[in-house]
Subunit: 449 residues, 2 copies
């Protein structure tokens, strides 16, 4: 358990650069929670990270790896030789192995599997029967299980075997003879009961269940809202697969919101702060390429009006204002709708209300900023016609942005495409193309001799 | 406690529009957790929301309000008359009142305070002595407290008084005679102990503490990583102020990451999906105005090169490509750094390493896409010079974007300005201005007759 001091990553990272502090550093790290060790390791360049990680006790080594983002831990794995990997997997339990198997070389993974006993093997096979985003895959096997015919004294004996650092173990999971989940027995409910009584009378059957096939996000929401510290994960027949604890739920909620944030910039949530330059460049190149296509589309739209631009160069100067205001207004709507979709708050019953509201907001801000921009343009170029044209283009683009901001994410969600990842590229393409087209089109109509 | 079925907001929202389903709707809602009721209510337009909220039992009414985002609940409060508000606050405890006081009219708040007893009043005053983002403000008073000289039977008696729906109460908070926090007694540790024994021997003194003056985010991180279901919040003298539970920590982590996401679009995280149009337009106008200033700055940069644009209109056509590629590359770096800052992973010791790495990534992608764009431009305009110019401008802008993407958020964080909110506006201004200046400047150098 952690000492009573907040985590000071800065100090830890500094020490990792200072060879004289090596011993002190290991002391400090060993007092942290695994999640904190993981965050501190991620905050170090790969060389320091590996050197620091190697000084940890093997329990902490494994626990820290399971908490690290995939790329960050992969960059540790890549520095280990076969002997190091073998001795590492020798210390892993099934839950660690499931978490880390994608990063292990096949040979090492096979070696780790060969060391499992029959029951651990069964757990592994069951877990791997579920998809990577399903609760059944990540059901935690570190739980206290009791038969529903047991007595209070059996339950108490189980609780008393708990290690000092066991987390979120204030209830036993009750099963029947066939392994089907029946309910929970809370430690608080056993207090003061006679030791010979059957536990049957204190079984809590009201706790929600998590199904193995549920998405991890959904299971995590259920756990986090239930008020329980851990819920049973069951298979299609109701058999107990494992548990999902509030600690894991919190970690999943955190990762899922973090990935929403990273996706807005086309980044993978697993991206390592200190990834090797070439790896990182490769990952980001795709997103730049997609953006380039949309930028060429915008350029092509402008190209349609070359003749106009040649005559009225002020239009070229003002173009970015139209595109930019549309993009910003659209992003605001888009972001609000993406949050609503993530919370499952957007329903067919309210599509129209939302669209009407965002159109209203767009109309007000469109007219307001169109006036400001038109007047400023007049003072800049001394021409009311250009002012009027840019004003009209702004109104058109902000209203289009409102419609696009509502419809694009809803439509992407229906196609099962992540709106946080693709929404802003598509939206910006729409507001660029419409913005340039409206502005330069109106310019051609009213300004060409 | 919730039934074993996942939350179906779509169905609930549909029912709220259908007057014949009113009774069924209330039944469905009363089976949900308060957090789920809050999410469902937020998913309804204000009229439905208020009508549905009014059908709830007063416990659920208050609990749902405390979980709703500020704007969404404010839009409920605004529809209530004085009598409704009075009877609502009559049911509130101190914790509810602290959570909701900003939305209550002064008169109603005074009325609510006048009904508190002396000890509740003291809690309220202590809580309000802390800032709005400090743990002391939100310390939860719903906890089990025991004197350190008590016996096991006293502890058991306390646990047995727990209501069925009490959440995260698997430990007692132990204090000395002066109210100073001493440690925790876990229910599991009491099992099988003789009832006449002192609790002293089973007090867990290792649990981390949350200080009242800590930021809520920091306190929530401590709780969520500690493995405990609730930690003590103490004042500067070590006196117990209340507790911070894992449920509240999870809610705080969720809100904090959600606000990071909303801030990228200049939105307030409290924004109501169904806010009145005028309120929403007002809130978003400011952000559009700030963006307009930066857009004018970009336009002004272009304006410096009017003569060049008049002669080589192809430059006007290609301008958005330079700005857009710089903006995207910069956002990727910015987003990665913001995540690192949020996790406190960015330290002075690693600034240079990060900058070098991002410069490397920028150089690779800059050269790669410069080549692609130069070749495409050649095929479009049949002119190698324009191709070369845009290629150079792309390299310059992507490299500048990498530097800006690292330095801007670090610098904002030092100034105590939220980089998620302001980072992208400043970054885009830099990449627009530098991009246009490099491209049109090079164009003026090499293309002007």
């Amino acid at each position: 358990m952690a000492e009573n001091q907040p985590l000071d990553i800065e100090e830890i990272v500094r020490d990792s650069f200072d060879e004289n502090e090596a011993e002190q550093l290991t002391d400090k790290l060993s007092q942290l929670e695994p999640e904190e060790i993981a965050i501190a390791l991620e905050a170090m360049p790969v060389e320091q990270r590996v050197a620091t990680w190697l000084t940890l006790h093997s329990d902490d080594q494994i626990a820290a790896l399971t908490y690290m983002r995939v790329d960050a831990r992969d960059n540790v794995f890549k520095q280990l030789d076969e002997a190091q990997l073998r001795s590492l997997v020798e210390e892993m339990d099934v839950d660690d192995l499931i978490e880390l198997l994608d990063e292990l070389p096949q040979r090492i993974y096979d070696y780790a599997c060969s060391r499992l006993d029959a029951s651990q093997r069964r757990w592994l096979d069951t877990a791997l029967g579920y998809d990577e985003d399903q609760c059944g895959r990540y059901a935690d096997h570190d739980m206290l299980i009791i038969n529903k015919n047991a007595k209070v004294r059996d339950a108490i004996r189980l609780f008393r075997q708990l290690a000092d650092d066991a987390e979120y173990h204030d209830a036993l999971f009750v099963v029947d003879r066939t392994g089907r989940y029946v309910g929970l027995v809370h430690a608080t409910q056993l207090l003061g009961l006679g030791s010979h009584l059957p536990i049957e009378t204190v079984i809590d059957k009201d706790a929600p269940l998590v199904e193995g096939e549920m998405e991890l996000d959904q299971g995590s929401d259920i756990v986090s809202r239930s008020g329980y510290t851990a819920l049973a994960v069951v298979d299609a027949e109701g058999k107990l697969l494992g548990r999902l604890s509030i600690g894991e739920a919190l970690e999943n909620v955190r990762r899922s919101l973090e990935s929403q944030f990273m996706h807005t910039a086309g980044l993978d949530e697993e991206e390592d702060l200190f990834a090797p330059v070439v790896d990182s460049a490769k990952r980001r190149a795709l997103w730049l390429g997609i953006n380039l296509l949309t930028a060429f589309l915008a350029a092509w739209t402008i190209g349609l009006f070359e003749a106009t631009l040649q005559q009225v160069v002020a239009l070229a100067v003002l173009m970015p204002i139209v595109a930019s205001m549309g993009g910003i207004a659209g992003s605001q709507t888009l972001t609000l709708i993406i949050r609503g979709l993530a919370l499952e708050q957007i329903t067919p019953k309210t599509y129209l209300t939302l669209l009407r509201k965002e159109l209203g907001v767009g109309a007000i801000n469109g007219v307001l900023w169109a006036l400001v921009i038109a007047v400023t343009t007049y003072f800049w170029f001394g021409d009311w016609v250009i002012g009027g044209i840019i004003g009209m283009a702004i109104i058109i683009n902000i209203v289009v942005a409102a419609i696009a901001g509502v419809l694009i994410p809803i439509w992407l969600e229906k196609l099962d495409i992540d709106p946080a990842l693709s929404g802003s590229v598509i939206l910006t393409t729409v507001t660029d193309v419409i913005g340039f087209f409206a502005f330069l089109g109106l310019g051609s109509l009213f300004l060409l001799a």
